[in-house]
Structure formats: C-alpha cells, structure tokens
C-alpha cells in the first residue's frame, strides 16, 4: 500500500478510535458497536415483562442466555483482544529498599507501658510435664505476678491475654502495638530434648542457623501459618533498625536478671544465653521485644520447682527486675543496666 494511502487510512482509523473514546467518556454507545438483533428483542421483552404481560419465571432464564448473532455464532463485543507474551526475559524485580540502621540516640523515650505476653492459651497448650503442668497455665500465672510487681512500680501494664484464651501470635503483637506499649515481653517455658538440660534463655528477633533454634522457633510459630523458609526470607530484609539493638539489650538485661535470681533457689540452673531467633510473635511488634524461656518443663527438677508458687514468684521478680533495669537505662538513670540487674528487688 502506498505511503499516502496508508497515512490516509491511519487518519481515518484514528478519527474512528477517537470518536469511539469520546462516546465512551460521554456514556454513549460506540458507533462501531452493532447491537445484535436480539438485544432489541430483550428490551421489548423487558418492557412487556414490566407490564406484566409475561410470567417472569418463564422469561428471566432466557434473558440470561448468550446473545446470538445473525450468523448463529455467539455475539461478541466490539472490542478486541490483548497480546500477551511468553519467552520474555522478565526484568529483575525492583529491589525493596533495604532497611537502614537508625541511631538509637534519636529515640530517648522513657519506658512507661509494658506489654506482657503469657505464651500459648486456649487450644494452644504449649509444653506439658508429667506432673500435670501445662505451659499455658504457668505462663499466665507468672505474667500476672509480673504485672502486679510492675504496677506497684508505677508502670502501666497491658496483657495480651488475661485468661485461658486463644490469641494468635500476630494478634498478640498487634494488641501491644495498639496499646502503645514501650516494650514487649513474651513469657514461655522451654522443652529440651536432652531431659537433663535446664536453665533460662532469652530471645530477640533475628535470623539463626542453629538447628535447635530453628526447630524451637518452628514449634512456637506453628500457629502463624508462616514456614521457616518464609521467615528466613523475611528476616533477611527486616529489623536492621534500632529495635533490634534495643531488643538485644533488653534480652541481655532480663536474661542476666533471671539467671542471677533463680540461681539462688535453683543451683543447677544453666545460663543458656541470649540468642536471636525468628519468632513470629516478636516480628509483629513495633517496639523492643523479647521472648523469655524462663525454665525448662522438660527437666524433672525444674518442673518440680514450677509447681511451687514461690518459684514462680521468683521468676516474676526476676523478669520485673530486668524490665526495671532496662527502663532505668533508657532514661539514663545511673542505677540502670548493670551486672546486678537481677538483685534489685530482694530476689
């Protein structure tokens, strides 16, 4: 086709396209769109229907039947198809912005409100010991004790659960966020395959290559619906912010307090240390957050100790002392974080 002819054809087609679009914008039917004859039939039938000349039960199904063109082929709209592609090299994804570490000094905020998270609850029993001890009951008992201690020290305390109820891991963090908590402390009891092992350990959120920690986190995260592979992916890209540093500090203080305090009544206790692990319940929070495994239910001696309210009170005192020390440190008080964090309240 000669160049002039093709240009003329293009201009003509463009005029039609533009008119079609003007009609669309103004709510008119496109001029190129031919109504199939039975559309008018449908309109007529609708009018008759509205006048009550036909029974609706007989007519309505026919209104839903496919339109048929004069040729007998299914009627189609005036618009046409899309070209999609295969064998196409997909450009690399736009990288998400990597989180940038933030200087903690820009957040010199006081710790006033503490979120306490008694692990498990409701259908989630947690670990169980032969003595009839169930983790969900022990964690609630300990949390309630911590609450009393902190409230006595003028802290405001919010609890993720106050009774034996099921609360999702995500909702626990969300509740703390909604309440505007300054720190989040999740209380759990451990179960270690080596039944002789005992002691306390405290976690903050982070990735780990340790198979034991991976299994532990997988067990704790079971309710969340996230796989460990998901978590690894998540953690590679999150949490390089000030909260991780503060969470680790909080974990260190609480761990030191637990070990020192409980060592007085539980001589065989092991300091299992502060560790990073991918717990969903911590990921959901927007404040420094830790998960404390305050004893081992798998160890016969510690399970026996946990049956005693006094031992549970020791645990509560140690947790509260650690939290207070952390709060003092944040506010710059000289009696803040130190080696004696666990000795402050008569533990």
């Amino acid at each position: 086709m000669p160049g002039k002819d093709i240009d003329r054809l293009k201009r003509q087609l463009l005029r039609e396209v533009v008119q079609d679009n003007v009609d669309l914008a103004e709510g008119r039917l496109p001029r190129g769109l031919k109504r199939p004859p039975n559309v008018w039939l449908r309109v007529l039938m609708l009018v008759l229907l509205s006048l009550g000349l036909f029974g609706s039960a007989r007519l309505i199904p026919s209104l839903g039947s496919p339109a048929v063109s004069p040729t007998g082929a299914p009627a189609q709209s005036a618009s046409v198809p899309v070209a999609t592609v295969a064998k196409v090299p997909i450009p690399p994804p736009v990288p998400t912005t990597a989180p940038t570490p933030v200087d903690a000094a820009v957040f010199p905020l006081a710790v006033r409100k503490i979120a306490l998270d008694p692990g498990h609850g409701g259908d989630s029993l947690g670990t169980q010991a032969p003595l009839g001890l169930v983790e969900k009951e022990l964690t609630l008992d300990i949390a309630q004790r911590v609450r009393k201690l902190l409230e006595a020290d003028s802290f405001e305390v919010v609890m993720t659960r106050e009774q034996d109820s099921s609360v999702s891991l995500e909702e626990r963090g969300l509740a703390a966020n909604r309440d505007g908590a300054d720190i989040f402390v999740s209380i759990h009891l451990n179960w270690i395959e080596n039944l002789k092992a005992r002691g306390v350990e405290t976690y903050y959120l982070g990735a780990t290559d340790d198979p034991y920690l991976t299994r532990l986190a997988a067990a704790e995260n079971r309710e969340s619906g996230y796989s460990m592979a998901d978590m690894r992916g998540l953690l590679d890209r999150i949490y390089a912010d000030v909260r991780q540093e503060k969470s680790r500090t909080l974990a260190e203080v609480v761990q030191a307090s637990l070990f020192r305090s409980l060592g007085k009544v539980n001589p065989g206790i092991e300091n299992r240390g502060v560790k990073a692990a991918p717990f969903i319940v911590l990921l959901a929070t927007e404040m420094p957050a830790i998960l404390a495994e305050v004893s081992c239910l798998s160890n016969e001696d510690e399970a026996a100790l946990l049956t005693k309210p006094l031992y549970r009170q020791y645990i509560a005192e140690a947790l509260a002392a650690g939290i207070r020390s952390y709060a003092d440190a944040v506010e710059g008080k000289p009696e803040g974080i130190d080696e004696k964090a666990g000795d402050k309240k008569g533990t």
Partner: protein, 344 residues
C-alpha cells in the same frame, strides 16, 4: 523516538493477561508480570515495607500476599473490588516506570493509549478510564489487536491472530475499526495449553511433583507443534528426587490442542471476507502474542491454508512490545485536536 512536544509524554500500554508492557515517547519500554498483591497481614506489610507489590516482585513474595492476576481469559474480572484495584495498580506501576507519578507532579502532559483485552466490556473500559484519572491528561482505549495492527501498519486485508495467555483472538482488518463480525475470541491460549500440559504430564508421571508454574516454564522453553528435532526433557522431583522426564509427546499434544479451534475460526473469518479480498487476506496472516511463538505454528497454519488456496503466515518475532509500541504509535499519530477532545 523523538517527541513532538518536549512537554508531552506519549505512552502506549498493553494490558495483558499474563504480562503488561509500556512504551513511551521518551524511548523507555518496560514489561511486567500482570500480578498485583497486597500484604496478607500486618506482619507481611511490615516485612515487605510496601502496601502493594506489582509484577515479578508480587509473584516472588506470593506466600505473603493476597495475590491477584486481575485479567483472566482476556477479561478484566468483575465483581471484585480487589481486581479493579489490581488493574489500577498495574496501570499506575507501568506509568511509574516511565517517570509518571500518581499526581503527575513533573508537569508534563501525559497522553496514553491503553490496549485492553478481548471482550473487555464498556464497564471494563470505564474502569481503566477511572483508574488513570489524575495520572494522565488524555486517554484513549483501543482493542489490542487494533494496536498491534496499527503498529505493524497491517491495517488493510490482514488477519491478525493474537494468541496470548488468556485468549486467542482473530481479527480481520478491513481498513476500519473491527466490529464483532470481524473477530473471534477463543479460550484456547497459553493458560489453556498450560492446563492441558499439566494434566497430561501428571497422567504419564503420577509420582512426579509438578506445578502449573513449572509447566508454564517448560512450555515457554519447549513448546512446539508438528515434529520436534529434539526431545523435550525436563526435570521434576519424583519422591523428592530430581528426575528427568521426557514430555515430548505431552508437549506436542497440549500445544496442538489449540489448532482445531484456531484453524476453524481462521477459515471461517476468511470465508466471510469479501471475495475480492480473500486471497490478499490469506497471504497476510499475522500471528502475534506469546503463544504465537509456539515452534512450528506458522508453517502449520500455512499448511491448513492450503485447503482454501494457500497463504502466508508471518509470526511476530518479538511480541513483548508489539502491543504497547502500537499503542504508542497511535498516541503519537493522533492529532492535537483529537487529543484535546479526549482531555479530561
């Protein structure tokens, strides 16, 4: 590509079932997967640090997302606010790739031509129009094969067979905007081939773990009709162990499944064209779209044309941007006065 006016940015957008592309008068071209996802929950939102993800990024993070492929079987899905929002996000994302933000703050006039799927209803077109409010100054919505035909200057006596993921659309260009009598839409397209291939492979290798994403990849690498010089051998886990599977016959069977309806529609459209032009049209068949890249498809269609006197089939070799380039050509050719009529 030089712009007529430095203050005006013209763009052509191909809104596809599987992938969507944009071509701009600044010379930029981008293609994305037509997926949009929203973080499933607060945790996912926090991790992903985005309120919405688009394209391959959405696909890669699908476990954390409410993932939508808003165009299916060539249609913009209806009845779901999320799918409407997904179309909006796709369009916004494509525009952002060529430097147009949601408020169009850089001050340029943006004139867009968007190619929409077959069977796209008026309500769908209105959705596209609504979605782009604020981002573009003027908008034209066209049928995708028309954009392809315009870009290739195949506007007269041409049969376009555009086979994408959702539909295969056949459209005779007679020097006018195509009407319903000029076109056919078939559900046998890329997604359909994937489903057939998955079914056939599972039937032959019941112990193999095979997903739709895997067969889609295999199809993109080894699809063919007719005879294959080399066997199609793929790797899939069988009882957890990576195992090589010969799927040559299954691939052939799945791909050849689209031939009967395509050939029947092609011959039907040809027979309905004016007798004077039928030969010209037979010798000007253009196959576009990703599924059109099935090896051997062009020669096989030529073989089928023998029953009506023979013809020539041309396969678009680079289908990625053929639709958006066509849209861009329309955008740049439209006179200023026409664009003014379409300015909001």
């Amino acid at each position: 590509m030089a712009d007529k006016n430095n203050e005006v940015l013209h763009v052509g957008i191909d809104l596809g079932t599987s992938r969507s592309s944009i071509s701009s008068s600044s010379g930029e071209r981008h293609v994305i997967e037509s997926y949009v996802g929203w973080p499933l929950d607060m945790v996912a939102r926090k991790v992903l640090k985005k309120s919405v993800l688009v394209g391959s990024e959405a696909l890669q993070n699908r476990s954390m997302l409410d993932l939508h492929r808003p165009l299916e079987q060539g249609l913009i899905k209806e009845g779901s606010d999320k799918d409407e929002a997904a179309v909006r996000e796709l369009l916004w994302h494509l525009l952002s790739l060529v430097g147009v933000d949601r408020e169009n703050r850089n001050g340029r006039k943006v004139r867009a031509v968007v190619g929409v799927p077959a069977e796209a209803l008026r309500v769908n077109k209105q959705q596209v129009r609504k979605a782009l409010q604020g981002a573009v100054d003027s908008l034209m919505i066209v049928s995708e094969p028309f954009a392809v035909a315009y870009g290739m200057e195949a506007l007269l006596h041409t049969l376009i067979i555009d086979s994408g993921a959702g539909t295969t659309d056949l459209c005779v260009m007679n020097g006018r905007l195509p009407t319903e009598e000029d076109q056919r839409t078939l559900p046998q397209a890329g997604d359909w081939v994937d489903e057939q291939l998955l079914r056939l492979v599972r039937a032959r290798y019941p112990d193999a773990s095979v997903s739709i994403h895997m067969v889609r990849q295999w199809k993109e690498e080894g699809s063919f009709v007719g005879n294959s010089k080399t066997p199609v051998v793929v790797t899939a886990p069988v009882a957890g162990k990576p195992t090589q599977l010969d799927i040559t016959n299954e691939m052939r069977q799945a791909c050849e499944g689209i031939l009967p309806p395509v050939v029947e529609s092609m011959l039907d459209l040809l027979s309905r064209a004016q007798p004077d032009y039928q030969e010209k049209i037979r010798n000007n068949v253009v196959v576009s779209g990703g599924t059109g890249l099935i090896r051997g498809l062009g020669p096989r269609l030529e073989q089928e044309l023998q029953q009506v006197g023979g013809g020539k089939v041309r396969v678009v070799k680079d289908p990625i941007y053929v639709g958006s380039d066509g849209g861009l050509a329309i955008a740049m050719d439209a006179p200023e006065s026409d664009w003014e009529r379409l300015t909001k």
